[in-house]
Symmetry: C2
Subunit: 765 residues, 2 copies
Amino acid sequence: MSRNIIEKKEILLETGPAEPAVRLFVEKSLGEGAKSRLEPVAGVARAAGFPFLAPPFAAITVAMSEIPNRSLLPILRPESVAVIGASDTPSRIGGRPIHSMKTMGYGGRIYPVNPRRETVQGLTAYPTIRDVPEAVDCALIAVPAAIAVDAIRDCAGRGVKSAVVFTSGFAEQGEDGARAQAEIARIARDSGMRIVGPNCLGVFAMDRGWYGTFTNAPDMLDLPPGPVGIVSQSGAYGSHVLLVAQKRGVGSNFWVTTGNECDVDLGEVIDFYAESPEVGIIAVYAEGVCNAGRLRQALGKARDARKPVIVMKVGKTDAGARAAASHTASLAGSDAIYDALFRQTGAYRAGTTEELVDVAYACQYGSYPTGRRISLQTISGGGGVQMADDAVRYGLDVAPLPQPVQDRLKALIPFAGTNNPVDFTAQALNEPDLMLKNIGLTIEEADYDSHIVFMTSVPATPFMKKPCADLFRTVRERWPDVQMIMSLVGGRDVVEAYEKLGYPVFEDPSLAVRAMAALTRFGDVFGRTGDSAPPAAPPGMLPAPAEAVGEHEAKAILASAGIPAVRESLAATPDEAVAAAAAIGGPCALKIVSPDIPHKTEIGGVLLNVEGDDAVAEGARTLLRRAAEQTPEARIDGVLVSEMVAGGVETVLGAVHDPAFGPAVMFGLGGVFVEVLEDVSFRLAPFGADEARRMIGEIRGRALLDGVRGAPPADLDALADALARLSVFAAANAGRIESIDINPFVALPKGGVAADALIVPRTAQ
Amino acid sequence: MSRNIIEKKEILLETGPAEPAVRLFVEKSLGEGAKSRLEPVAGVARAAGFPFLAPPFAAITVAMSEIPNRSLLPILRPESVAVIGASDTPSRIGGRPIHSMKTMGYGGRIYPVNPRRETVQGLTAYPTIRDVPEAVDCALIAVPAAIAVDAIRDCAGRGVKSAVVFTSGFAEQGEDGARAQAEIARIARDSGMRIVGPNCLGVFAMDRGWYGTFTNAPDMLDLPPGPVGIVSQSGAYGSHVLLVAQKRGVGSNFWVTTGNECDVDLGEVIDFYAESPEVGIIAVYAEGVCNAGRLRQALGKARDARKPVIVMKVGKTDAGARAAASHTASLAGSDAIYDALFRQTGAYRAGTTEELVDVAYACQYGSYPTGRRISLQTISGGGGVQMADDAVRYGLDVAPLPQPVQDRLKALIPFAGTNNPVDFTAQALNEPDLMLKNIGLTIEEADYDSHIVFMTSVPATPFMKKPCADLFRTVRERWPDVQMIMSLVGGRDVVEAYEKLGYPVFEDPSLAVRAMAALTRFGDVFGRTGDSAPPAAPPGMLPAPAEAVGEHEAKAILASAGIPAVRESLAATPDEAVAAAAAIGGPCALKIVSPDIPHKTEIGGVLLNVEGDDAVAEGARTLLRRAAEQTPEARIDGVLVSEMVAGGVETVLGAVHDPAFGPAVMFGLGGVFVEVLEDVSFRLAPFGADEARRMIGEIRGRALLDGVRGAPPADLDALADALARLSVFAAANAGRIESIDINPFVALPKGGVAADALIVPRTAQ
């Protein structure tokens, strides 16, 4: 398992009674490039008062102790705003927000602060925040880094409720900046003034004309406020997503860039969106997360509110991670753990901006298929083939139409493809009514959860424009709740006409399928109301050991948590081993047991398929001798005599402590699957059996569990139960465990057993 | 291996002296849905005079014997055109081509043929083709199916050089249609008149105003003729690709839809494009290929002409394949073999229309990186992270800038990310000259093969529009040959300004990276001039056997082809086995040898690690007894005594006869890799060692060959040599072999050996 998990370590430092505990997370990269990734972040560690850490300690982040989730209303719904560093020039950072608010009709009170001017852009200016006649809801900080901290402190002193700090030059720019940023964070904590940034592009709420941002984007917004709430750690990328979304017809009301996140972070904004009635869909751009607990909770809250969350999380690869480290002061956590989080909370992870925006676009129509059965209808056979390929790839079910329906379709258009995809053929162009009949039969006489209709350019051609629009208006009127995406190519007017009829429109049929698959996934996630809870910890569940223990004890501890192990007993002498083997019956495995020998095979400490009294006695002697010779200092508990498990599939169940997300559980198949293919899936602990089943279903080699070459299928219920119980054990022992390997856990046709186990306590490292 | 390869069979039928040989290809599907896929094609087989084939023979195609590659000039460069079934109404199928040609300025002669009219759209009409005053270059057939065959025969009789048959109702619509289509094919063969279609949407050549098509698309074309030649088997999808391409700024001169391909097919059109000076890039939409040899040759010709070919081949999955069968009368060949063909010939396989069009768009700039080192430059750190993730995913090398260059960049913008991606930061907005210096240093002082610059909306903002345009004009002037893609979001005017400067423009940075990766792949493919040739067949290479042979003989035959095998000898008696084992020395494997027992393990016919005279003698006796008892009718050659190979990695080398493409060679790793993960790669035989190395590099489990858990790496040269030699053997024995399994071929740290082999002759099925 160690090949797949980057080693991580968390050091808890009490920094003094006046300050909260500060946790320092250290990631020990096993890959290359550790040194190059170290440099940008070493300054952060030094600035935070920690000694410089030499490679291979490569990525570092400092997370403050949790701040209670106070409201973000003063930031997103301010009734009064002060602009510190206000400028009379609309193009300047301190001028643009005032200009935008004035032109976009902000209804609240604006107080420019500038000691050198009487007025700014026609508004009365104030020399300092102390001179502003009220304690404003929000202060925009647009002064250079050298004076920003003082300005923020002054705001806090004046009772300002929140601040959005545009100023850059903090943790992203080395040691001094990190120190200054820590000071800003301290001001936020001490005063209760909420702070967005520093090094951010600001926030906006379009419906109130509130533009606490210096981006040019407001000039380019041509859609009315819409249901997509955007939050981005990167300012420039946040603007990019916003503008691409606008071009795609995806409207946003709220937009927040969180920058260096000294106080308000991604999770808290998502939490706000989950509660906000103005937000129906949440689009997230993330680079790295400090407060993992808040993020997890917020994603769960959004799911419970049936609000789809679409996340673009970058920094997947080594080169990507390097760039993330140099861009923000946040740690890019292990990508597999992020994946686990998103899968578990039902967030959709988009790979590209286009995918993020496309899925948000489709979600705007506000309903989600409740099953995977998709009907594909097409004016072009080729388009049908393409969509069918894609649907299968995205896990949708291109179920054939029932034969009687096919027969009726055949009667309508003799040479139409009627199976699924249904191919209208060019005949439909001559008789558009045929399409209506076709579509109607498919909707009424079959049991599909969703439909895609590929019309290519037909709805845009002069002769077909009106008949097509009439047809699809009728479809929408007769079957208002049907899930249907249109794929067509045409001008903006044609696209908008179909959008107004309630059809999401995609030019590329493949991307239409991808979007429908995403909607279907949300439908599945929102429908998981009966998901099994994590199993209760068995009475008498033992705690994780504080010190290294041998395999035998590890299995006993896990057995107390409900994870079955092979029959075995520990023998102190060869004679005891003989007796133990006789009690088990049949061939046995003999293994040396010592808390000081975690890797038994390396000293030849394992013998398999030993049978017969003489062989068992001789085997036990051999193991004891090898241990004494090769590891003379090791404490030897004895020889473990275990039954040999026949048949079954070797799997690996593991747990690991992620420095950001806490205990996570891993599943994989034994042998090359874990070691070469890194074919594993993760979930954050704890979880129930349903989640465990999904986890098992994600691995590429899952066919092995269904039985290959005539082998019987593995007992997936037992396997899922063991995973869920391991997650409960890991969660109950968070902070005590560095990692657990159950390798192998043999998944049998009925049940399953742990054949070997290793528990590494956190203090053991 | 059989799990991965659909069983296929080719039956060669001599249909009489007057007709060419017709090959009937039968695909035996092992998947579900065989019956549903059978129906649409059974009629084709019957129509072609073959008996109905019951399931599981599921997909059938009839390929005529090869037609010499005559020129397509009369189809794409006609100087005179007759329209059979000409209509006065511009919206009708027989009216639209005339209308299009008249309005688009066709310079040739147009002869409407319509017995009921004097004139058509102002042109003199003729009652029949015989009355037309010249033997035209091309006749468009726009009459109903019932009279189409006669019309085509009349054209041939009149000496018409080519025909484009719009009419549908042929092989795609059952048995009678297939019979009629066979008649059209016969006319083409007998007369030499080239025929496109039937059931096609036609062809066009924009530069001459030649619109031999009834699609509406000509009305929607707003770009001048461009270098992308489009060919599509599907008419409607061909139009879709054309229109999406137009919207993306991708211009086409030639456009051909091939429909049912009774004569002119995809391969021949690609061949024409490869030779045509008007075509620089070839975009292909394919559903299934009949004449595989011509396609392979054409793709090779395009590559040699340095013309990128971008292919969308649908019908990958079961559901997709079902739709393909019901849409055209062509056979969707095994997808793995198509992949092999495209990889081998350097064609780029696009997964979506968007990808097809995006890559063609980027190719329009006409140059290709010669290496994988990519420089990423960005105004947004987030965009940089995203691009770095994508670049790694697409196999590009995000190599760091040399440290001295980084130092110089740091001196320019102190807090810029300087590693790679280079992050200009917002500072660049204040001083655009810094960007120029940054870009210049990256180009001049480092050794990158390509560059992507992510500018998001900056080039579209009022204040930055001009400085940005000036900057990138200067970049283009100073470094005219640099490979650089821009990623930005802005209006059409902004995009066009950068395109005119010679930059491909992408809104989504991820798609920019995908396109650059595609250009890089073409650069690699075009640079493969020194690729190793297939090795020469060794003198004395034995022919493939005509009958089933035992493992021993199979290895001996393959050894004669240069594929090394384990040391072994065949023993007729237990005593001979003892002598053989003694000669080999050390532990041996004993195996029963019989041409009638292909699967030895099923009768317990293999014993491993047998050592010592008594054990060998006893083992040989056991095997002979088991064979006699369990397969009394089998011919027993004896017991094979083989050395046990220690260490190494078990691989599978295979060969298979693909009914469309002929002999293909497979590579995979042993065990679960082939059986569960289907982790294999294919190439068409023959090929050289360089291609074999690429093939080895494609499998997911390739890390196993590099050595895991301290194992030494496998000898990839030896492995590649064995694959290349197997391909030479398979090619030399095309038509004689159904399949070959070398399983395992043990790849050793030095060399490699076949430990078991099976050759299935074609007549054996």
